[in-house]
Every structure is written in structure tokens, then in C-alpha cells.
């Protein structure tokens, strides 16, 4: 019987060679890596990608938005050849494009226009994902923040959805109780807090920036907007300052809150008897005074991927095909014209009227590639104001100074 003889040098050589062999095998096997944010519609699309091309393995990793954004940033900034397919929102994709991390899709779009009926995506939707005239992301969802409210409680109290913030505040106060908060708020930095601040700044103030990207969120109207946010936050659920969309969705489903802002893509989950205690009790309307966040999500191809771009595009396009999006129509606002106009879908999904109304009065976030970076300063200061660590005016002025300094360092205001 032969004995296995291992020398120290042999072990070192084997240890060095193993990763290369394993990586080589993994890549040769054609496993495509996808990283994405996670919510029900995106879980559906991930499944569609996994089965898009028979014989091609797609490994999908889904996680909360901030974590996905950070993981993608870490991977792309190190020019890693994984991931291959990357989630992108209308708000965040410009950062990646500006850094050269995404591959333009125009050539592939033209090549597969007929096969995947790509003209069905309206220009207004594609425009959300274009930078310097080039398309970088294939749209998969349209989304808008809607006003979620407990219709049964409103009806019992003889109330209707508020038309303005003062009415909203008064309703939140009147519905508030230890066991059920009058208001559901999601202020976890960065993304969730941006969503909510965006509504206040745009509905009550003049928005985030002027046309030269100078902060205006700290002007008198901006301060009033955050004062109002702080006042309404008194009636928010426990843990609101660390709550993102998942926690807020649970707050509605578990009968812990009465009303608030949430994405249209979360509406269907309210009627899921396996997860919700309020099936049929939640209704939706356009947010009071409009100007809540709207936008969309999609998928892009990494500029560093070593996989065949045609294969990657086909996977993305298959998951965004008309049939695929129709299957997800109860979980989102479809980004294809044919589906948006489909009366059957409109009737089958009771949140559609409110979602479309919210989309029409919505406002996209500023198309500033550094928006999420400066959002880190701004949301942190807003949270300090809302939790009473700092006066509102002081917090917003500090955030504005930090934002200006940061953008100056990135070549703005020359």
C-alpha cells in the first residue's frame, strides 16, 4: 500500500494553487453572480434569472438596500469580476456609472430590441436609467411611495386620508396609543431616511438642492419641514429611527401602526394572510401634498465581468420580459406600456389606482451621483434633530456645510 507523503514545500504549493484551481473551475462552470436589494418583486425576478437560460447557473444574493449598496460598492471599487449582474435604482446607479463600474447597454438593447420587445419600455422609464445619453440599466419595476392607512380605523373614526401635513399630524395624534402608533416612520439612515426626508423637503420645502447643486434643504422652509417631521415622529412606532422598509412593512402587517408612507411594492404583502394580521384592512392613497419619492429599479451589467455580455443581457432581459413582469404585476408597478395599460391587471390589484396616482404626483431624487454619499451626512443630522440631540436649524446648517465641503472636493462649484 503506498503511503501519502507530504512535504512542507508540497503543502505550500498546493495551498497556493488551490484557490486558482477552484476559481478557475467556478468561472469555467459559468456560474453567474448577481447581487440585489431584496423585496418581494426582486425575489421574484431573482428566481426568473436563475431559470432564464437552461444550463446556466445564476447565483443570486439578495439583501436589504443599504447592505446591497455597500457590498456592490466594495466589490466594484476593487474592480472585482464578481458580481456580473448588479441591482441598480434610479437614485444610485449614477454613482456607479460615473465611476465606470457599469457597462452601457445600448448595443445589446439594439441587438435584442425585437426579441424581447424592448420598445415596450416607454422613454420616460428608460430616461430614469440614462447617463450622458447612454442606457445602463434595464428597468424591472416602477415604484412610488404611497400613503398606507388603516381604512377600518379611519372609517370607524369617520376620517378620510389627510390632504396636508397639519391634518396628518392631527390624525397621527388622535390615533396614537401605546399599543398602536398613530404614525409609521422609517428613518434608518441612509436610504429609508432619505425616502421620508425627501417627501417633507419637497412637499413642504423647496427640495434638496438648487440648480448648481448648492444645498437649499436648510432654508426656512426646509427647517419647517423637518420641524414638522419631528413633531409627527412623536407618534411613530418604537424603533422608528432604526427602521427601514422591512421593519415598517412588519409594523403595518402586525397591527402596530395606523398610517404612513411606504413603497407600492410593499402593498401586496398587506393582504398576505401568512404574514399579515390586517388582511383587507389597509388601503392606499396618494401621499398628502404629493412629492413623495418615485423611481424604479433594474439590473445592470458590471464593467468588470468576464462573463459573456450577451448571456448576461439575455438573463436580465428574460427576467424583464412581458410575461415575466406580468407574473410580478401584483408586486410592483409594471414598467412596460402594454402592462401599464392592461385593464385586467388594474382590476386585479387594488393598490394600482393609488400607486399610479402616487407616481403621477411623485418626485424623483436629485440626479446627483454623490447623492447617497451626501445623504449619509444629511440623514445623520436629520436623525439628530428628530431625536432631540441637536436643534433642527443647527442640524440642517451643519449638514449643508458638510455637503458643500464634500461636493467641493468632488469638483462642484468651480
Amino acid at each position: 500500500m503506498s503511503r501519502l507523503h507530504l512535504s512542507r514545500r508540497g503543502l505550500v504549493a498546493a495551498a497556493l494553487a488551490a484557490p486558482a484551481i477552484l476559481v478557475g473551475r467556478a468561472r469555467a462552470a459559468g456560474t453567474i453572480q448577481m447581487i440585489s436589494h431584496r423585496y418581494p418583486a426582486l425575489e421574484y425576478y431573482a428566481e426568473k434569472m436563475r431559470t432564464a437560460i437552461p444550463g446556466t447557473t445564476v447565483n443570486t444574493q439578495l439583501m436589504p438596500y443599504d447592505k446591497a449598496l455597500e457590498l456592490i460598492t466594495i466589490a466594484m471599487s476593487s474592480k472585482s469580476d464578481t458580481p456580473d449582474i448588479v441591482y441598480a435604482s434610479d437614485a444610485g446607479f449614477q454613482t456607479f456609472v460615473k465611476n465606470g463600474w457599469f457597462r452601457p447597454l445600448d448595443d445589446l438593447w439594439a441587438k435584442y430590441r425585437d426579441e424581447f420587445k424592448l420598445d415596450d419600455f416607454p422613454d420616460s422609464v428608460r430616461k430614469n436609467f440614462m447617463h450622458d445619453g447612454k442606457l445602463y440599466v434595464m428597468p424591472h419595476t416602477l415604484n412610488a411611495m404611497m400613503f398606507f392607512y388603516r381604512k377600518d380605523l379611519f372609517d370607524a373614526a369617520g376620517k378620510t386620508p389627510p390632504k396636508g401635513f397639519t391634518e396628518y399630524r392631527d390624525l397621527a395624534k388622535s390615533f396614537n396609543s401605546p399599543m398602536r402608533s398613530g404614525n409609521v416612520s422609517c428613518l434608518k439612515p441612509v436610504d429609508a431616511a432619505i425616502n421620508e426626508a425627501h417627501w417633507y423637503f419637497n412637499a413642504l420645502g423647496d427640495g434638496w438642492f438648487d440648480q448648481d447643486w448648492r444645498p437649499i434643504f436648510n432654508d426656512a422652509k426646509g427647517v419647517q419641514a423637518i420641524e414638522m417631521m419631528k413633531e409627527i415622529a412623536q407618534y411613530a412606532q418604537q424603533g422608528f429611527s432604526a427602521a427601514a422598509n422591512d421593519e415598517c412593512t412588519i409594523a403595518y402587517q402586525q397591527d402596530i401602526g395606523v398610517m404612513g408612507l411606504q413603497w407600492a411594492t410593499r402593498a401586496k404583502a398587506m393582504d398576505d394572510p401568512a404574514k399579515s394580521r390586517v388582511v383587507g384592512k389597509i388601503d392606499w392613497a396618494a401621499p398628502p401634498q404629493g412629492h413623495a419619492r418615485m423611481g424604479g429599479d433594474g439590473y445592470a451589467i458590471s464593467a468588470f465581468s468576464k462573463q459573456d455580455p450577451d448571456t448576461l443581457f439575455r438573463i436580465i432581459a428574460t427576467s424583464a420580459s412581458q410575461a415575466s413582469i406580468r407574473g410580478a404585476a401584483s408586486l410592483l408597478i409594471p414598467p412596460r406600456t402594454s402592462l401599464l395599460n392592461d385593464q385586467e391587471l388594474r382590476q386585479a390589484n387594488r393598490f394600482y389606482p393609488a400607486a399610479l396616482a402616487s407616481y403621477e404626483v411623485g418626485t424623483p431624487v436629485p440626479s446627483l451621483p454623490e447623492f447617497y454619499a451626501v445623504g449619509e451626512f444629511i440623514t445623520r443630522r436629520i436623525l439628530q434633530a428628530v431625536t432631540g440631540e441637536m436643534a433642527v436649524k443647527q442640524a440642517l446648517d451643519t449638514a449643508a456645510t458638510e455637503t458643500t465641503d464634500f461636493l467641493k472636493g468632488h469638483g462642484y462649484y468651480k
Binding site: 455597500e70 471599487s77 401605546p178 418604537q238 432604526a242 436623525l383
Partner: protein, 268 residues
């Protein structure tokens, strides 16, 4: 070890910004900017406060339990094993458990208290409670380490010294504080130094529990480093902050050793 450290120091000398694409040599510019940065000092103060509270609590509890185990005549091994369990759970996983315990209203703790008719505070949403919660979370995970090391230390104390003290009429606490603790002083310095160094890197638990919030209530220096590197993409400045943290912790440990051994040069 030297390569990553040298690389971090090298990067800290550059205005290396992934967002703008800049990579300019600026010498100690990042250090100068950090030293006048209000957020740096705020996070440093907060880190010191949280670390001292957590390590202090861990040491106090650890010492009490270790001494209790020392005096116990049966079941020591089983108890030691059971108490060590939190320490072998991966910090992120432990933090996820703890998040579902402390989360408001539907968390295990809140739901239980509500079931008993007590309306609980907002453990993760109130700034003061959030700080207390992260200290408790860290203590839950790392007190077992203190117990294990201190218990082992107490068992090394010379039995003849203990017996002599007992003959002289020393009680339980006098025995602990006047005989046993002075005997294991090098071990105490060692375990505190290890925990202080470790606690300064406190990241995973806070990241999962509060993400540094509410507001900035639990933002520590490592969370600020993370924000600089992966949210603001300022790699140079983040590296400089990492180096400053290293220097601070090294100075703290050196000071601690110097204070404890000021009369016994060369003892450690």
C-alpha cells in the same frame, strides 16, 4: 501583518477618493483634517464611553461569577461550558438574535413585558437605551471570556497564601480583594488589555443592532471608519482614521500597563 498595516499607512497619506477618482499625495492632510473634525472627536468620546462601560461591566460580572465558580464544589465544568456558549457564537449572528430580542413592540423582550402588563422603553430607538443595549449586548457575549480567564487565574493562586489568610481571619471578600486579585494582577491586565483592544473594534453588534443610531447615539469610531470608506468612498481618510485608532488603542494599553506596574518595572 506588516503589509496590510504599511498599505493602510501609505493610503492614509493620499486623498484617495473612489467617488471622485482622486488619488493625490497629501502627506498628513487626512490626519490634520480628522483632528479638527467634530465627528471624529464625538465618535472617539462615544467609543471610549461605550468601551469602558462594556469592559467594566464584563470585568465586574466576570470576576463575581468566576469567584462564585471558584468557591463552588460541584458542577463547575458544566456551568463553565454553558456560560461560555455566547462567546462562541459569531458576533453578527449573536447581534441578529439580540436584535429580535430588543426590537420594539414585537421583539421578544418587549412582547414579554407587554404580556406582563409593563410597557417597555424603546430599547433601540431611544438614544440612552440604545447605548445601554449595545453595552449589554457586548457584555452578554464577552463576559464568558472574562469568566473563563479569571476563573483559570483564581485557580493559580498559591493555596498556602489562602490558608494563611483564612487562619488570620480573612473573610470571603477580603480573601478575594486582598489576597487573590493582587496575585493575579498580570492576568487581569492581560485580560483587560485584550478586551479593550477588542472592544475598540466594536462594529458588528452595533452595525446590526442600531447602525450607529438613533441619530449618532451609538456611532463608534469603527462605524465612522466604515462610513468614510464604504459610504463616502474616502479611502485615504478612512485609512488615516484606522491608523489613528490603532495609535490611540496602543497608547491606552501602554498607559494602562504603566499605571498598574508603575512600582514594578519589568514585571510585564
Amino acid at each position: 501583518m506588516l503589509y496590510p498595516l504599511s498599505y493602510a499607512i501609505w493610503l492614509s497619506l493620499f486623498n484617495y477618493d473612489l467617488g471622485s477618482g482622486a488619488r493625490d499625495f497629501i502627506g498628513f492632510g487626512n490626519y490634520a483634517a480628522l483632528l479638527v473634525d467634530e465627528r471624529f472627536w464625538d465618535t472617539l468620546n462615544r467609543t471610549v464611553l461605550i468601551v469602558l462601560a462594556a469592559v467594566g461591566l464584563e470585568f465586574g460580572l466576570g470576576l463575581l461569577v468566576a469567584y462564585g465558580l471558584y468557591r463552588l464544589s460541584f458542577g463547575v465544568r458544566t456551568l463553565n461550558l454553558l456560560m461560555f456558549l455566547p462567546n462562541i457564537v459569531t458576533p453578527v449572528v449573536a447581534a441578529l438574535f439580540l436584535r429580535w430580542i430588543f426590537i420594539g413592540r414585537w421583539g421578544l423582550l418587549s412582547a414579554t413585558l407587554i404580556g406582563l402588563g409593563i410597557f417597555p422603553p424603546d430599547f433601540l430607538g431611544n438614544p440612552t437605551w440604545a447605548r445601554i443595549t449595545v453595552v449589554l449586548a457586548d457584555s452578554w457575549q464577552f463576559t464568558p471570556f472574562m469568566i473563563l480567564v479569571l476563573y483559570a487565574g483564581l485557580n493559580t493562586v498559591d493555596q498556602s497564601q489562602i490558608e494563611a489568610a483564612q487562619i488570620d481571619g480573612a473573610g470571603v471578600w477580603m480573601l478575594l480583594f486582598r489576597i487573590m486579585l493582587p496575585s493575579i494582577r498580570p492576568l487581569i491586565v492581560f485580560v483587560l488589555a485584550i478586551r479593550l483592544m477588542d472592544a475598540f473594534r466594536f462594529f458588528d453588534t452595533i452595525y446590526v443592532l442600531t447602525s450607529g443610531g438613533p441619530g449618532t447615539a451609538t456611532e463608534t469610531i469603527t462605524l465612522y471608519t466604515y462610513a468614510l470608506a464604504f459610504r463616502l468612498l474616502q479611502i485615504g481618510k478612512a485609512s488615516a482614521l484606522g491608523v489613528l485608532t490603532l495609535l490611540f488603542v496602543a497608547a491606552l494599553i501602554a498607559l494602562m500597563i504603566r499605571l498598574v506596574y508603575r512600582r514594578e518595572r519589568g514585571a510585564f
